[in-house]
């Protein structure tokens, strides 16, 4: 499986990838992108099975990326990893087709709880 980590912070991409490995998802192919535009380019060649995406990013933010994917008929599993997680944002994310929203800072347990059902379902 291919997991694409999308975040404009290089440090945060590294932390997300480290947490993925600690949570037991290290056997998957993990790739990274710095914003929505880069993410779209990344999956042109090889589609992703799961996208873990920040909300606020330059060029194209996370929610616009998700909407663009769904408009194009792409049903890739999609979860947000973001510093804000109020009920309104969670509703917007769910309505747009996100499977989960993890708030930063996160724990290995949070990743396991959110990703396990998505990757095995």
């Amino acid at each position: 499986m291919k997991i694409l980590v999308v975040d404009d912070s290089k440090a945060m991409r590294m932390i997300v990838m480290r947490t993925l490995r600690q949570a037991g998802f290290g056997e998957h192919t993990i790739e990274e992108a710095g914003n929505g535009v880069e993410a779209l380019k990344n999956i042109e060649g090889t589609p992703a099975d799961l996208i873990l995406c920040d909300w606020n990013m330059p060029e194209m933010n996370g929610i616009d990326l998700l909407k663009k994917l769904r408009e194009a008929g792409n049903g890739v599993k999609f979860g947000f990893v973001t510093s804000e997680g109020n009920p309104e944002m969670r509703q917007i994310a769910t309505d747009a087709g996100a499977a989960f929203l993890i708030t930063k800072p996160f724990t290995v347990d949070a990743f396991q709880s959110a990703l396990q059902p998505v990757l095995t379902g």
């Binding site: 912070s9 290089k10 440090a11 945060m12 590294m14 932390i15 480290r18 510093s83 804000e84 109020n86 708030t103 930063k104 800072p105 996160f106 724990t107």
Partner: protein, 162 residues
């Protein structure tokens, strides 16, 4: 619009660092209040409902900002020692530390109100508007912390709200 009026408990500060850096972090109230000015070496995070309305400030001295920025990317502590001695963060360390300040915005959130956002992140010495200098001198509330990051080192943090 959200306004900043929460000051987090030291435990909440330690927990955020702990979760983010993946290592043991201790935060204790300082015995002595820090005299922080725009000339202090370190980094400022400015928080509020809009770019124009800043209601909360986080300042971390150069040691804490360097250690946290380094720990975030697993850069050895020795790498940032020259920056700490010089009182100026390297760009990459500051970029990393900005992510800590971004996530710290949650400290100021009040249930039922719109989330507070990090509006600006500044390496210091820097220039600050008069009203922010006034907030540093006479805040409505303040929290002075001594913070130690296991395997890296210790530094100081100041949180103030208007």
């Amino acid at each position: 619009m959200a306004s900043v009026h929460n000051i987090p408990a030291p435990d909440a500060v330690a927990r955020l660092f702990n979760d983010l850096l993946g290592r043991r972090v201790i935060a204790k109230k300082s015995a002595v209040k820090q005299a922080v000015t725009p000339r202090s070496a370190g980094a400022f995070g400015l928080y509020g409902p809009t770019d124009e309305q800043i209601d909360g400030i986080v300042f971390c001295d150069v040691a804490l900002a360097c250690y946290a920025g380094a720990a975030l990317s697993l850069i050895p502590a020795a790498t940032v020692q020259p920056s700490i001695r010089a009182g100026k963060m390297a760009d990459g360390t500051f970029e990393n530390f900005s992510e800590v300040l971004n996530i710290a915005r949650g400290w100021f959130d009040t249930p039922g109100q719109a989330p507070v956002k990090l509006r600006r992140c500044l390496p210091s010495p820097c220039e600050l508007p008069k009203e922010l200098i006034a907030m540093l001198i006479k805040p409505a509330e303040r929290l002075d912390l001594d913070i130690e990051i296991d395997g890296y080192g210790a530094g100081k943090m100041l949180l103030v709200v208007k």
